[in-house]
Assembly symmetry: C2
DNA sequence: CACTAATTGCGAGCTAGTCAAAATAAGTGC
DNA sequence: GCACTTATTTTGACTAGCTCGCAATTAGTG
């Protein structure tokens, strides 16, 4: 079936996904996808800048539209850390989480500890109507090794 | 020690906390705290409206300043659900989480499942510098009972 | 009760994102 | 390969939510 696509040709895989979803395959969409794939956890602004290197005429609004649409389709994942514009990544469907360094802002992916999402079973209080949970977005906040080291040097 | 403060006189407790933190006890701060306490998960706008009932002259900017400062002090907790302005609550320090209904936007508190935060121990990939984690903010996204029921009625 | 630094109010300004309508281009059939 | 249809992109104006600097006010201290 895919004997000639052993190497991950993301672009054609994306094209297929787009078509399957009833969307047209435009250079704008591919440029946005490629930009995010190359630099995960990018803001709409970063993505615009990156994508423009391949597609100089690309407009900011197109990026917003594409991001919104592809996120809805599930081809992108969007997450919004505090005090930051929304970030996007192409890694979807694996329910992975994020760790953000409150000092320098660095963001790392964290695999969902176990194969099955461990946090999908909240503990409801007696007076609450439980919800049917679909996603558990976990945002770890801490300090990364670099900042810890820098802090030690600075005396404190 | 507290034999005369059996009833939770939040206002005086807040005053004490403020003084301890080196802040002055102003009616603006107390009005904001009272508003949030009465209506947890409020936006800055809601808080302004509520607080103005007690303090008609209160300005929006003061609310923002107070919210930012008190959040930094740890007297308020701030969280930013997707597609929503920041929300505030007075319940701090217990590492509880939030569940949001993606349909109607309703938000519920969810106690941290176990006494010890279950999610404070992420699983790091081999090539990653682990961070020193301090908080794990969990945002459950799902559909609440009401919306589920409404959906069933609507045919789908 | 006066003093002084902290707090609040006011206005301008900024960033991230949205909306409507016209211009463009992807996919379709001939 | 060409014309057609309609999704997509662009253009440009606009909004929400929040921040900044400076002047006016006020809480807390002695």
């Amino acid at each position: 079936m895919s004997q000639f696509t052993a190497l991950p040709d993301r672009a054609s895989a994306w094209s297929e996904q787009l078509r399957t979803a009833g969307r047209r395959v435009t250079k704008q969409r591919l440029a946005v996808l490629a930009a995010i794939d190359a630099h995960p956890h990018s803001t709409a602004d970063n993505i615009l800048e990156l994508a423009r290197r391949e597609l100089p005429g690309l407009s900011a609004q197109s990026v917003y539209v594409v991001l919104g649409d592809l996120t809805e389709l599930g081809m992108l994942r969007r997450f919004e850390p505090p005090h930051s514009p929304a970030l996007y990544e192409t890694r979807t469907g694996d329910n992975h989480h994020h760790a953000i360094c409150t000092r320098c802002g660095r963001i790392e992916d964290v695999d969902c500890a176990v194969g099955h999402a461990p946090c999908l079973h909240p503990h409801w209080n007696d007076d609450q109507q439980p919800m049917s949970i679909q996603i558990a977005d976990v945002l770890y906040q801490g300090i990364c090794q670099d900042c810890l080291a820098a802090e030690r040097q600075d005396g404190d």
